[in-house]
Subunit: 310 residues, 2 copies
């Protein structure tokens, strides 16, 4: 067991109370609001200089990413974001103007999605900038979509194009809030997650929470231009397919619906969101495990996207 | 204007929305819950190794402090804490057993106050441990106590004893949740804040928010044993009075009530909380500014507790 698995183990036995609908392990915590038919959603996330953004990243984009990551998690539950708090842990050498640009990027994204920024704290983290965001949202109880609802026979969908996010998209992605709410309004979506760890890793989270498996079609996976360009530019780079399976930080939606809803959903999506690709990339199976089907056959797929050609 | 004042300025023009009752500038953000007569409270705070705790601090106490600081802010609004999220930003050399003890300290405090810990994130902060906590609470709308309600003629009260917190109390203080809710239930409390920056600094926050002044009686300020011992041990140390005015991290409650309620409140408090000192330390005045009265006369008091003997 590695250190992060240990932590995951401890966080399974955390204190609860009657307000908890869904505790650790989904995109957001889900809480009883006391208001019939409505849940509260709570999410926190941090970005750290040198880990989630490079020291020369544009400050507006750092702010965008810090808030955008939390918004993407609210989207994954088909929720509505309400208000955010921001903790800025500032290095010794921070420049006020740089920080003001971070706020600009964050404020612009907040305004786009009607989110209030209601305060936060400023503290010191001498060696590097760290921004922690806490986001409150809500959702109609019957429209809240969890990771745990995937069913055998479901069609598996993903929005957008995957892979190569580090080339720039990870700092400027658009959280899929409107798309997720439209999906929950129009179709009985069984499960949903946002792609932060990479398609293979995040799909595995859905499968584990839902106690099912999946078969993904290699040729149906939407591969981004950035992933193709990277593969071409460097002979040592991942293949475009592996990049799309494993790169992470795509911040697209992965969701499942009953097989019979797949074609009507695709048709309705194209009318509603003509500018955003939606791909049916496979199906949920009753046999546990994640399989990848390509022209050579069916292969086991590791969490990190590596394919076992047994 | 220093850098932190600049930040304070930017955070005055953050995006809002219809859910915001009180935005940045009070102990917690106050949000309309959609439930008539109830507000939601949202707070975030971080503790950083080397800043808020020393590298050799006991891990259980680090966990206690990380959650306790947020609980103290919920107390300052007379609120009820509901659920917390915890972001652990781990240094490269962290020991899993150390981290487990941090969770133990946090979990024990959470259980004491009926708070659920509903998840969070684990990330990397290579040089030092940083723990960011986000806490959701609620409060009956008519019992929510702000910093801005102090009125000329109010009596000024403080719980516990002040100063010298760094000798140990800052890692093991008890957030005054039950006391604050009892106060709000029993008396029309006009304003309240928790003492994190030190009596002089935090009282100044109340005065600025309420557009009033205050006169504090030097001999009425409850000085902790730790502050007295420190003054005795080192000739270069602050006087006990200055420590009580300026040390910070007391996490006691400072509040004001109408002058006519002062004596009944003190009497009822002694019956309800016989183990916790409550001191009337002065009164709110219509003239702005913070004054300290001692046997030599009335002096102006700086935010950092320094007394001007003009």
């Amino acid at each position: 067991m590695n250190e992060f698995e240990l932590i995951a183990q401890w966080t399974r036995s955390l204190p609860g109370n009657a307000s908890v609908v869904v505790g650790p392990g989904d995109d957001c915590a889900v809480l009883d609001s006391g208001q019939p038919g409505r849940y509260l959603l709570l999410k926190t996330d941090a970005v750290v200089q040198g880990i989630h953004f490079s020291p020369d990243a544009e400050p507006e984009r750092i702010g965008h990413k810090a808030l955008g990551r939390c918004l993407s998690d609210i989207a994954a539950m088909a929720g509505r974001p309400i208000a955010a708090l921001v903790t800025m842990a500032l290095p010794n050498d921070f420049a006020p103007a740089f920080l003001q640009c971070i706020y600009s990027g964050m404020n612009r994204l907040a305004e786009q999605h009607g989110v209030a920024i209601v305060g936060g704290e400023t503290t010191t983290n001498p060696e590097r900038l760290l921004i922690s965001v806490c986001l409150l949202g809500d959702v109609a109880a019957h429209k809240c979509i969890l990771r745990s609802g995937a069913k055998s026979g479901d069609a598996l969908f993903v929005t957008g194009e995957l892979g190569g996010s580090l080339a720039g998209r990870h700092l400027e992605f658009e959280p899929r809030l409107a798309e997720a709410r439209w999906l929950a309004d129009q179709f009985p979506i069984h499960s949903m997650i946002d792609l932060s760890d990479g398609l293979a890793g995040d799909l595995r989270h859905v499968l584990q929470c839902s106690h099912v498996g999946a078969e993904v079609l290699a040729r149906a996976i939407p591969i981004s231009r950035a992933a193709r360009l990277q593969a071409k530019a460097e002979s040592s780079a991942k293949t475009p397919l592996l990049a799309a399976l494993s790169d992470g930080e795509d911040f697209e939606l992965l969701f499942t619906v009953a097989g019979r809803d797949a074609v009507p959903l695709l048709d309705a999506w194209k009318k509603q969101f003509p500018g955003l690709r939606l791909s049916c990339i496979g199906r949920i199976t009753s046999t546990p495990g994640l399989k990848l089907r390509d022209k050579t056959g069916v292969h086991s797929l590791e969490a990190h996207g590596y394919v076992h050609f047994a």
